[in-house]
Structures are given as C-alpha cells and as structure tokens.
Symmetry: C2
Subunit: 128 residues, 2 copies
DNA sequence: ATAACACTTGGAGTCGACTCCAAGTCAAGG
DNA sequence: CCTTGACTTGGAGTCGACTCCAAGTGTTAT
C-alpha cells in the first residue's frame, strides 16, 4: 500500500504519516525499488493503534516510549504494563471530567429551553 | 479578591486570567483606586464556568461567541441553546471515543498481565 | 517523449492556548 | 526614605502536533 492509500484508509494525512515516521512513532516503512513507501499489515496495525491512542490524547512522546520498550522484548513487560496502566488511569479521570461537564451542559440547555417556553407563553398572552 | 487569590482559588495562573480578559472570555474586571483588578462573585462564577468548559475542550472562540450572545439578551436564547447543544453533542461523541480507547487500553493491560504471569510460571519451572 | 502526477526530502510555517518578560507603578513594613 | 513584593502593561516566546513548501525524482497515460 502506498502512502496515499494508507492516508485515505485511516483518515490521516500523508504529511502526518511521514511525520510519525520521522519522530519514531512508526518504524521506518519498507520501500520499493524506487524509494517509495510500501505499507504492509504490520504497519497498518501500528497506524491504527496510534490513531486510536492519539485520538484519546495520549502524547506522542508516551507512545514512542511504549514502542521503544516493546521493541526491547519481554524484559520490559512490566514497564509497559505500568505505562499503559498510568495512561488508562489518566483517561479514566479525563472521562469523568468530561462527564461532569456534559451534565452541566445538559443542565444549561434545560435552562434555555425553559426560558424559551416562558417567552412563548408571554408572547401568546400579549397577542391574545 | 485580587488576581493572585483568584488564581489560587481556581488553579488558573494570573497570566491566564489576564489573557482570558484580553481575548474577551471574561468581561473587563472592575478595578480599585489604583488600577488593580478586584474580582467579585459575578467574575468568580464566570471563571468557574469557563474553567469547566475549557477543561472539557470547548474552544475559547466558541465560549466568546456564547457570552457575546448572552450579553445581547433574550433575543439570542435560541441561538445560545443551539450553540450549547452542538457542543454537548460533540462532547458526547468525544466521551464515546475515549471510552472505546479505554476499553482497548484495558484489553492491552490484560494481555500484559497474562504475559507476566506466563513468564513467572516459566521461571518457577526453570528454578524448580 | 512529454506532460501530468504521485512520491521523495529537509526545513519552515501555523495553530490554539497559554506563558514569560521587561519596564514601570503602588502600598506597606522596617 | 527605601526596599520588598504584588500588581500593571504590551508584546514576545513556547509547546505539541501537525501542515505546508520548494526542489527534485520516478511512473504513467496520451
């Protein structure tokens, strides 16, 4: 798969894909005879995972660290688990915060709806 | 309340508080005789709301628009409701995404835990 | 075979949201 | 009176994460 196809498939710009490779978030992608990137399944899986994690706000730095550890084999299993757990906990806390804001937003909307209804009644009364 | 106290109370830097005022996210704060900001309850409430919304990722621009509308009175009630509803829906979608990533993260952690347990068993077997 | 087009590179530019800085003013304590 | 320390201003700098650009090479269709 060429870069344009990968970009299309995952909704990530070609610039971003190359950028990820540059900073080490994705390992060097294999090239065909004329130096053009040829993404395979391994790459695709990695990209999908990165997309998901980035979308949830995990910093690029953290992901790089994770992949660096993974690349060192079983000796780093515990460290990787710790890293993932930390990010999981941060995410959990984040979700709780967003949920709280969601509740507030819903309450505010409710208030606006009520105000609108009240206005309608008053207009009806005036026009009667 | 002086700016340092507000900063302390809400965990927002004085720089950020002044920045918010500059860009119109908070209306001009009243000053005492010598030009120093004196925050009151109205200001505090606004700051708290802004903090909550910003924390949930609502862009500054959107919040400014909301306050601009609010300042124009009842005629903008419907517009404000629409704005809030749009942001609420975005937030809802965001939470769902984060939840999906959370699930994936939990699964990954599980995989690591299993690998660790397997290693332990192997070590035990070697050392027996 | 020549135009059109996807790909390559390194480096510069952009964006939102702060964050820091220099230079100055003012109130209070020793 | 003089220092200390919190406050003021406008403007510049930083950060993470892209995003864009110029200049060049390779592939494909007419």
């Amino acid at each position: 798969m060429k870069i344009a196809e990968v970009s299309e498939k995952y909704g990530i710009s070609t610039d971003t894909l190359r950028y990820y490779e540059r900073v080490g978030l994705i390992p060097p992608v294999p090239r065909n005879g004329s130096g053009i990137r040829d993404y395979g399944d391994t790459e695709a899986k990695r990209i999908e995972f990165v997309k998901c994690m980035r979308n949830a706000g995990l910093p690029i730095e953290v992901l790089i660290e994770y992949f660096d550890l993974a690349q060192q084999g079983d000796a780093t299993l515990a460290a990787r688990k710790a890293l993932l757990t930390e990010q999981r906990d941060l995410l959990l806390a984040r979700i709780a915060e967003l949920q709280a804001t969601l509740d507030l937003l819903n309450y505010k909307i409710e208030v606006h709806v009520n105000a609108l209804l009240k206005n309608e009644r008053e207009i009806a009364w005036v026009e009667d």
